[in-house]
């Protein structure tokens, strides 16, 4: 950077009030000793005044209306989007990659278990007051069932029994029922506990958990109520997303192995080696749910279809 450029920056910072007292004094001294600099400063001030004096235009009066219309339209499109085929179905991998993936998933599982068994350490690191009220989770649960009306009735009952009668009636279209829940972690847990016994009536369950990056979500295929609870019960949104990613890997791997016809390995999975622990194991986390004072921190849309 040349001396001239440095001086220019200094003068601009001076007129913008972005200099320290010492720097301001220095600029004042420079100006008083150099008439050219004084002229330059006056020119820059004029530029600033010209731009700053430009008239303020008023935003069109229909902005609010248009925002609402756009949001409604977007919601409709989002709800009509076809269910995406999971990436794992398209992946062609060798058995060596399976082995590597299995190792990875074991590591991920280990991370999940460690996270659950050491909540107090995490709490100490992040600060005890941080977790409950700061959590903001949103997502979509896509369920498919052969008997749509039976499962609809189960979901509506679970929602009502959990103390949310306002949400029990879904939006309906030809083949889908949409519930939009806005409730506390405790509320979601109650609904999931109620549904867990009847989960076998659901042929496909996918959870899409929104992340902090706009438009990006974590997709979990073949998700179970206990896994959703596990995600919801984490101490913060970041932690929930991390656990969701781990579970996604585990579920995908499990499906790949079963599809690839590895019954021995598959049976190990089913027998519990890869099973993600249920929330009942994380008693200290569960206690933390009692502390969120029923604050509505979770938004979940349940979309039920055939």
């Amino acid at each position: 950077m040349t001396e001239e450029m440095k001086t220019e920056e200094l003068l601009n910072s001076y007129i913008d009030g972005e200099l320290s007292v010492r720097q301001r004094t220095e600029v004042k001294r420079m100006i008083s000793n150099d008439p050219k600099l004084a002229v330059r400063l006056s020119e820059l001030r004029k530029c600033k005044t010209l731009v700053g004096a430009l008239p303020v235009a008023q935003a069109p009066s229909n902005i609010m209306e248009n925002i609402k219309a756009t949001l409604e339209k977007k919601n409709l499109i989002q709800e009509k989007a076809p269910v995406r085929i999971s990436d794992y179905r398209e992946v062609k991998t060798s058995r060596r990659i399976f082995a590597a993936a299995a190792m990875f998933s074991l590591t991920a599982l280990l991370v999940v278990v460690i996270n659950m068994l050491t909540p107090s350490q995490i709490g100490n690191k992040e600060g005890a007051n941080q977790f409950a009220s700061d959590i903001r989770l949103s997502g979509k649960l896509e369920l498919q069932a052969n008997d749509l009306s039976a499962v609809q009735s189960l979901i509506s009952d679970a929602i009502e029994n959990s103390g949310f009668p306002d949400y029990k009636n879904p939006q309906k279209d030809a083949n889908r029922r949409i519930y939009t829940l806005y409730c506390s972690r405790e509320g979601i847990n109650k609904i999931l506990t109620d549904l867990e016994g009847d989960w076998d009536q659901i042929s496909s369950a996918k959870l899409f958990l929104d992340t902090e990056n706009f438009g990006e979500s974590v997709e979990i295929a073949a998700v179970t109520p206990s896994q959703i609870s596990e995600i919801v019960n984490q101490k913060g949104a970041d932690q929930s997303i991390k656990v969701a990613r781990d579970i996604s890997v585990i579920n995908n791997l499990k499906n790949i192995l079963i599809e690839r016809g590895l019954p021995a390995f598959g049976s190990e999975i089913n027998s519990g080696l890869f099973r993600v622990p249920k929330p009942v194991l994380v008693s200290r986390n569960y206690q933390s749910i009692q502390q969120d004072n029923g604050e509505k921190t979770i938004q979940l849309r349940i979309i039920l279809s055939r």
Binding site: S13, K48, L50, V51, L54, Q58, P60, T70, D134, A237
Partner: protein, 224 residues
Amino acid sequence: MTEAAKIEFRYDRMSNECVSMDDTSLVRKCQHGDSNAMEQLILKYQNRIYNVILKICADPDDAAELTQETFVKVIENIDKFQGKSRFYTWAFRIAVNLTLNYRQKNSKHEISSLDSQREYEETQTTQAMKEFLQDENSPDPVDVAQNKELCDLTIKALLQLDEPQKAVVVLRDIEGMNYAQIAEVLDIELGTVRSRLSRARGRLREILEAGCNDRRNEDRRIAE
């Protein structure tokens, strides 16, 4: 009253409704699904955001659309806003990013910008601007604001800056943000704000000066 406070006051007077509640409370209410709070936030910032976008893109229709898009994105992502920055800078960041991306993708604006540049070079810079630039006294912003000619010429000169330069000038001199806020909105270093603003003002001055010189030469030719 600070510069930023003056600007805020200027916009508040324009709002249809005086929004007295602070942003933190409004955002918190929005996150709990309060649509009234969201409407208040929109009312509070719609003119400011619209103005910044308009000064960068120069097309009222595009500016209106981009303002709407900004608020749609704000609403869609309000749950993820964790208060690490001020809502004000977060919303402006979305607005400016959308505008700069839009400008980058739409070549028609480059053409209109070139047109406006040509028009400016061919016909502009009047006596009023010449007098303004030559006047040794400090200009009164109120007088400048009331002089339509000066304002038109300044807008045309502003349009000739490249987008990143235009963005810093608009955020600083129209929106009244400090350098740290500009750095946050544009996601650039503080030093980059300083250098970019300095180059932008230098260029702006050159454009206005060049117009004056062209005009002076033209007057001389006519006299000869």
